[in-house]
Every structure is written in structure tokens, then in C-alpha cells.
Symmetry: C2
Subunit: 146 residues, 2 copies
């Protein structure tokens, strides 16, 4: 799975990602980075619509899990169960989302649980940036189902 | 502000709402109801993408505040500060978001604080339904700024 493959997958299967102009900058098991331009995601204040910010963060965290599951050779349905977003600053232009796994041991527990029970949950965090400023934070719980 | 006016406003100022096919079913100070079709909001599992669910809930809660502020003759910038979403069930088809103010006294406090300080915060909840099933819940903090 490289950035181009993931981008085609997202645009082909989640049409909102194409409408948002989402681009995949990096897609590795260590880190996924997505970008989106302001124009299709703008709001009435000419900043990024909160729903777009939230959607980019969800896509980013889901993508990291997707890339990792493929890398581990595990087929699973990945479902978001809950998320929190904090909107720290208005997003004034093109923006990115970055998701990394902070705790490798959580990933190992997640995989073991999935293999044992066919169901496991993991919490991922993502951050949104505009220029080099952190503008929003995301935390989401995802469930993998056989 | 009626449903048609709000729908035009959303489509004109937040292009993602048009890409999502958002329709405004009801826009009153007591209650805002929005609807969105599955097709433009679908994901790789042929259910509604979590980012679309989240965006519809944010639009709905923001719209209730917007309608109420206009009704009260108050001009303010409304900014989302934080939100939580719980995705309770896969959303298998067209879906709606509904936001009502649960606590009229919270609104009165919010308006008084805004008038006194030029800044006030309020928490709103919205629910998403598909058919007659509740499928997701939203809670968000919004800030009004002079």
C-alpha cells in the first residue's frame, strides 16, 4: 500500500474524500498524512468547515489502521465507534491530518485480541495542521471485526 | 429563516453540504432537522462514512444556533470548539440529524453572557437516525463571538 494506491482507494470507495479534494501524502504503517485544500472545505467564515476537519481526521486514523491491518495480513472490518475533536484555532487555508501509532504495545494487544476473539478495539489520535500550526486534535476508538 | 432559506445558505456558503446532498427538513428555533442521502456519503462498506455522519451533526447543531441567534436579533460569529460523536450502529441508508435545545435556561444564560462579555459558550446535542432507528449521537460546544 503506497500513497497513490490509498488515495485511489479512498476516492473510489468514499466519494466524500474526492469531493473534499483529499490527497494522500504518506501511507506507511508508522504514519499516515493526508492533505485537503481550503476551497471545497470552506465555510461561511472562509475558514475550514468543522465537518471537513473532522472527516479528514477520521479518514487519516482509519487509513493508518487499514494500512497496518493489510501489512499484518489481517482481513477485518474497521468501524469507528466514538470520537472526540477539539478545534483549537480557525483553519485559514489548506490543511493536513497526521496519524501515528503512539504505543506499539497497544497495537500488539489489539492484534492478539482480534486473533483470539475476532473483535478488538484501539484508540488512535490524529492532529490537524495548517502551515506549521497545530489547529485541531482528534481521538477516536475503532473496532476491528472479523 | 425557513428551511429553504437555510438550505440555500448552507449550499452557498459550505460547499461540502451541497456535495453531501444535505436537505433542510425543518428550521425553527425549537428544532432543526437535516437529511442526507446515502450515495454521496457512502463508504467502502456501503454504509454512511463516519465523516459524513459527523459533518451532518455539526451542520445541524450549528444551524439551530444560527436560527436562534437570528431570531434573537443577535449578530455573532459561531465557532465549534469541541465535539464528541458516538457511532452506535452502521447507517445503512439515507439519514437525518435532529437538534433541539434541551434546556431553555442554558440558552438564556448563553445570551446574557454573550451580551455582557461578547463571548459565550453553549453545549448542544444532536441525534442521527436512519429509518426510525437512532444510529449516532453528537455533543458539541459552540462559542459565540462578537
Amino acid at each position: 500500500m503506497d500513497a497513490t494506491t490509498l488515495e485511489k482507494y479512498l476516492h473510489g470507495h468514499i466519494p466524500l474524500s474526492a469531493a473534499m479534494g483529499v490527497r494522500v501524502l504518506l501511507a506507511t504503517p508508522a504514519r499516515v498524512e493526508l492533505a485537503a485544500p481550503l476551497a471545497p472545505n470552506i465555510n461561511h467564515r472562509e475558514t475550514v468547515f468543522g465537518g471537513s476537519a473532522s472527516a479528514l481526521a477520521i479518514l487519516c486514523a482509519w487509513s493508518l489502521l487499514h494500512v497496518r491491518m493489510l501489512g499484518a495480513g489481517v482481513r477485518a472490518r474497521l468501524v469507528i465507534q466514538r470520537n472526540e475533536m477539539s478545534y483549537d484555532e480557525p483553519i485559514l487555508g489548506d490543511f493536513t491530518a497526521t496519524c501515528e501509532l503512539e504505543d506499539e504495545s497497544a497495537w500488539e494487544r489489539f492484534l492478539r485480541m482480534f486473533e483470539r476473539r475476532g473483535r478488538a478495539r484501539i484508540t488512535l489520535r490524529a492532529r490537524l495542521e495548517c502551515g506549521s500550526r497545530r489547529v485541531a486534535g482528534f481521538e477516536g476508538d475503532f473496532v476491528a471485526l472479523r
